[in-house]
Amino acid sequence: MIKVQQLSKHFCDVKAVDEISFEVAEHENLILLGTSGSGKTTMLKMINRLIEPTGGKIEIEGKNIMDQQPEILRRGIGYVLQNNGLFPHYTVAENIAVVPQLLKWDKKKTEKRVGELLEKLHLSKDHLHAYPNELSGGQQQRVGLARALVADPAVLLMDEPFGALDNVTRSKIHAEFKALDELKRKTIIMVTHDVQEAFELGDRICLMDQGRIVQNGTPAELLFKPKNKFVKDFLKEQRLNLEFKSVKLSDVWQWLARQTAKGDVVLSADLSLWAGMEHFRFKEKDVVNIRHGGINEMRSAGFEQLMSAFYQYKKQQSHE
């Protein structure tokens, strides 16, 4: 879908992006993770030509983006900014309708689509005629997302989209983000410096440092097969938390008990260990049933069994 080849961007002598290559598959969610100055934002902005590369090539669906007029290219790519970048002199409705206006949609079509998005993003219709400064930070960010999604672009670029939000709002929006069906049909590249966020939202993570990709892999790969010390150190502080979040119940399937327990709670095996453990804590169940949809099998586990399975899994990973 998106193919980046030997892409470089030099600002005078500084190599902000240094011969990077990666690919993003259709409907994949790729996270560019790194500290500030790692070149991740520069990388992102070259995809919609907000920044012109010094060398290299980007293809979207096989077409070189340099062959397209930048305005036309950008209208086909959704873009969400950290500080939302909403137009303060436009109402919410006008803000969302910026791209349809540029694409010369008729009024009815625009109205319908704006209403639809508003509903999906849990914004009230009363907000339509409000100005951005009358909304909360979370609401503003949702409007920013709606603006990026309105023309249903195949590609969505997000530059630290939740960076300006407080923790409570952020985790709420994370949950909505994952549940939003619109986003499941998109190829997304998101920039963040927040490790938690990267692991929670990303199908794949490119960990970047000094303009280069240090490791490109799934969250589990980064955790259990780090390429070098840099990757290990980068994840060190939140390691346990991340591990629980990135290991799925299906990954530890072989160590779970075969019999089913009493009780009506059935979890999907696609959930992370972390989500499974939450059921112990809040529902006060000793044992939960887990259904593996792929092989149509049901197993069960108590808290201690789950911990032991996780331990076995880790041992196995480190031996491979």
Partner: protein, 524 residues
């Protein structure tokens, strides 16, 4: 009717026609300049916000223009654009430019970069970003600039009357020349009110919320154009010749008022400063002007004086007027000043004026040459710093020369020290300085004393006007009585008002007297 006792309100009511015309002219002048300034300044501001390397140069030049004194700027415009509204508008426009350019630049560069990036990322092109994002967001700042420019322009536009562009300055400068406070206020108060009113209206615009602002922004150009057209409403009635009179002449009984009442002269008239009036006549932008009969430029520009066959211009014999207290303080001063009595006749004065006005010699040089030639020159004696004679003069060449002559005479014939306070504006400023003991003496003219300072009733002026001696006696007596100021002996020349034309034109049309002029204007 004694004007001193007339109230301001009375004056404004009496002159309401003129006041309305001047106000409308003033508004028109302000907004034409403003409109052009916006048309020039806005694109320039946008341009330098795009190409920042030009911003220093453009803002620098606009800043320098702002620092040029307004009168000087008007002066620069005359050789290029002549007199009348064109140079006035050009000068006003240059003054209004800086705040508009600067605020457009600041407004646009101050737009949140995240918003600009969002606009770019949504797929807007440069023009769409400018029109849909940058300009609307910069609008409050740009409005503030236009507001500043408006207030500046309303103020500076009062000076437009110096170069025949009309406006409320006509009353203000006429009033200063005529020692008529009501007249000054009749110009100054409406000008101030206009500035306050426009400032207030624009401040309301600025505070409107974004939604309403969109509509207002659209209507603003229309409003500007409508207000600009005000200037063209009071179009003067046409006549074959065009006259330029000084603000002082316009308001005097022995000036335009006398021409209308005694001669019945009807001519298209513009108000103009005497500094540029002669040149304008020479350059055929004006045909008839109100000059002074001893002015050096009469000779320089080959103009002729029209004979005052009905005797409306009273004699203007020059003589030093001095405070009685000063005469007591400086015992030998009267004798020294009278050394000059009777020494300078009309043609000598014209020649002296010609040397300063046209040959551009310094008044000091001209004064010294004259004294040497008259064998009155003596080198300066040691001065006693405790007894300083303060000499005043009005703001034109002849007075500068006289002040210098007196200064040299005093220094050469006494141990008094001298300080000269030249350039004391018009009659009012000069006389007030004398009356309030800011100066000891200055050269004044009998006619001015009679009409502008004493404001003698019509009965008295009619009785006196033909006889120079009678006028001198009257003013000497009245000044002594009312102001404790003494008229010394006349210097000799009569610097009376006169109507003048180009010699060639006057000869061609066979106009020798003011009555001839009237007859010519009335023939079809």
């Amino acid at each position: 009717m004694n004007e001193q006792q007339q109230t301001l309100w009375g004056f404004m009511r009496q002159e309401s026609g003129k006041l309305a015309e001047q106000t409308v002219q003033h508004i028109g002048l302000t907004f034409i300049s403003l409109l052009i300034a916006v048309l020039v300044g806005l694109p320039l501001g946008i341009f330098i916000s795009r190409r920042k390397r030009f911003s220093g140069a453009v803002l620098g030049v606009a800043g320098v223009l702002q620092t040029i004194p307004s009168i000087a700027l008007l002066g620069f415009m005359i050789p290029i654009l002549g007199i009348g509204p064109k140079p006035a508008i050009a000068a006003l426009l240059l003054y209004a430019l800086l705040p508009i350019i600067r605020n457009t630049f600041t407004g646009i560069t101050g737009v949140d970069p995240a918003v600009k990036e969002a606009a770019l990322a949504m797929g807007m092109n440069k023009q769409q970003i400018l029109l849909k994002v940058e300009l609307p967001l910069a609008m409050p700042v740009i409005f503030a600039g236009i507001r500043t420019a408006t207030v500046i322009t309303v103020g500076v536009a009062t000076l437009a009357s110096y170069i025949a562009a009309g406006g409320l300055g006509e009353f203000i400068f006429g009033g200063i020349s005529l020692n008529n406070t009501n007249m000054i206020l009749a110009g100054a108060i409406p000008a101030a009110l206009l500035a306050i009113l426009f400032d207030f209206l624009l401040s309301r615009l600025q505070k409107l919320n974004i939604k309403k602002l969109k509509k207002v922004t659209a209507s603003l150009p229309v409003l500007l154009v409508v207000l600009s057209s005000f200037y063209f409403i009071p179009s003067a009635y046409g006549s074959k010749l065009k006259a330029g009179f000084t603000p002082e002449f316009m308001g005097r009984r022995d000036g335009d008022l006398g021409l209308q009442s005694k001669y019945g002269l009807k001519i298209r008239t513009v108000v103009i400063s005497d500094a540029v009036m002669y040149k304008a006549a020479y350059e055929k932008q004006l045909d008839v002007i109100s000059g002074y009969s001893t002015d050096g430029r009469l000779k320089a520009y080959d103009l002729v004086v029209l004979k005052d066959d009905k005797g409306i211009f009273p004699p203007y014999y020059a003589a030093p007027i001095i405070r009685e207290n000063s005469l007591k303080k400086f015992v030998s001063l009267e004798k020294i000043l009278n050394l000059l009595a009777g020494r300078i006749n009309d043609s000598v004065m014209t020649a002296l004026n010609y040397r300063t006005d046209y040959l551009h010699l310094s008044p000091e040089q001209v004064a010294k040459d004259f004294l040497v030639q008259q064998k009155l020159w003596k080198p300066a004696q040691t001065a006693n710093p405790d007894s300083v004679v303060r000499i005043g003069s009005k703001i034109f060449g002849e007075q500068y020369i006289l002040a210098n002559i007196y200064s040299m005479l005093i220094k050469g014939n006494s141990h008094y020290d001298v300080s000269t306070k030249t350039g004391l504006g018009g009659t009012k400023i000069c006389f007030d300085a004398l009356a309030n003991d800011q100066i000891d003496f200055y050269p004044e003219y009998t006619g001015t004393g009679l009409l502008a300072i004493l404001q003698a009733p019509a009965a008295v002026t009619d009785r006196l006007s033909t006889s120079p001696d009678a006028v001198y006696q009257y003013v000497a007596q009245e000044f002594d009585k009312k102001h404790n100021i003494k008229w010394l002996k006349p210097i000799g020349f009569n610097n009376a008002y006169a109507l003048m034309m180009r010699r060639k034109q006057a000869e061609k049309l066979n106009i020798k007297t003011i009555s001839d002029l009237k007859r010519y204007l009335e023939t079809r």
